[in-house]
């Protein structure tokens, strides 16, 4: 106060005016706008705080605004972060399903999404077989679990029609369960690779496979070859030969394969594709 009086005495009244206007008129509104950015666009609290701010006496606004900081940190930010995460997970799940729909006659392993979307389908049997193929040792795949099934055009149509309504819910559930994976390799879902390092997963185009309880369905049996980092894993006991060639798709080869081998070279065609970004 004495400083203000001293300033006024020195005819620096304009400086006082500027400070008062800045502190009590500009700063609170500016700070409030910044804080409101933390809230999602459709959050009614945004408009509520704006309305309350307009009715707060001007000399109390500064303190009122900073009192909202607590609210903004504990209410606005978590909501916005969670909403953004939901959207990202939903987009990932949608992309994965889109990838699946591109090749309806390829070998097919039901993802969680697909089981979800089509739980009553007799053509998707999630618990028919489980076959261990490779495990990961020191960051390299040596044995994995493959779940597989056949894919029918009808299934794809059903999925395309049905998933729009359920993918949002699914994405949310996946995020809640920490299960971010699987729509890998355009037809085959590899699982039980939790001991694969993050960099190895990224290098192999894998996402995390969280469930060790992987199942496969087959009325036919298939030979799956999986090639990653120059190593090919082959799973026998399947009639038909399907190969994934790092192009994120399976193609049926002409030759049936027998025997279980590790390290056998697989087909080299196709481009590498990461289906799930961010891993």
């Amino acid at each position: 106060m004495t400083a203000a009086v001293a300033l006024a005495a020195q005819r620096h009244w304009w400086a006082i005016l500027l400070i008062v206007v800045g502190v009590f008129c500009v700063l609170p509104g500016f700070a409030l706008r910044l804080m409101l950015l933390a809230y999602p666009d459709d959050d009614p609290r945004k408009a509520e705080l704006r309305g309350a701010f307009a009715r707060t006496p001007i000399f109390r606004r500064l303190f009122w605004v900073f009192a909202q900081l607590e609210l903004c940190c504990f209410e606005g930010l978590p909501t916005r972060i969670s909403q953004r995460r939901d959207r990202r997970t939903e987009a990932m799940a949608r992309d994965a399903l889109d990838d699946r729909a591109e090749e309806p006659e390829e070998a097919f392993v039901p993802l969680m999404e697909e089981l979800w979307l089509n739980p009553d389908s007799s053509e998707i049997d999630a618990v028919a077989t489980t076959e261990t193929v490779a495990i990961i040792v020191a960051g390299k795949p040596e044995q994995m679990t493959v779940k597989q099934a056949q894919r029918y055009r009808e299934n794809v149509r059903e999925l395309e029609e049905g998933y729009e309504n359920r993918v949002r819910e699914l994405a949310h559930e996946r995020q809640q369960s920490g299960l971010l994976v699987t729509p890998v390799f355009g037809g085959v879902s590899l699982s039980g690779v939790s001991n694969l390092s993050a960099s190895a997963k990224a290098a192999n185009g894998l996402a995390v496979a969280a469930d060790a309880n992987v199942t496969a369905m087959t009325s036919d049996v298939w030979n799956i070859s999986y090639r990653a980092s120059g190593t090919t894993m082959t799973l026998d006991n399947f009639s038909g030969v399907w190969r994934w060639d790092q192009a994120a798709n399976f193609s049926k080869s002409e030759q049936p394969s027998r025997g279980h081998s590790l390290g056998r070279p697989g087909p080299a065609s196709g481009e590498r594709r990461h289906i799930l970004p961010g891993h």
């Binding site: 009614p44 609290r45 408009a47 509520e48 704006r50 309305g51 309350a52 307009a54 009715r55 707060t56 009122w64 009192a67 909202q68 607590e70 609210l71 504990f74 209410e75």
Partner: protein, 107 residues
């Protein structure tokens, strides 16, 4: 809802005018609770169906203001909170003579 100082204070403030419109800013003053506390409580009450909200856009040149009104369910629930608080030593101060709770009880 847990029986806390803040929830009892908010209940008393709301029940002071069970049929009226309550505004967040006024509620912070009436209940003596920080806005960082009162808004989450109001949100819980909304979620539980104890409150309904609306927007008052009657003031020209100002953004609309959100208001809260008590539902019948809310009146019953808050009445229960206040009745329990009256018998709880932790909240004795709110019902001491001259306090907002005492006026509420005698009203």
């Amino acid at each position: 809802m847990r029986q806390t100082n803040a929830s009892v204070q908010v209940a008393i403030a709301l029940m002071a005018d069970p049929s009226g419109q309550h505004y967040g800013y006024e509620m912070t003053k009436a209940a003596g609770v920080r806005s960082g506390v009162i808004y989450p409580i109001l949100k819980r009450m909304l979620d539980d169906g104890w409150l309904e909200d609306g927007w008052d856009g009657s003031a020209r040149g100002k953004p609309p203001r959100r208001y809260y009104t008590l539902t019948d369910e809310g009146i019953a629930a808050l009445g229960g909170i206040i009745a329990r608080a009256r018998t709880d030593a932790r909240f004795k101060a709110y019902f001491a003579p001259g306090a907002a709770g005492a006026r509420l009880v005698t009203a």
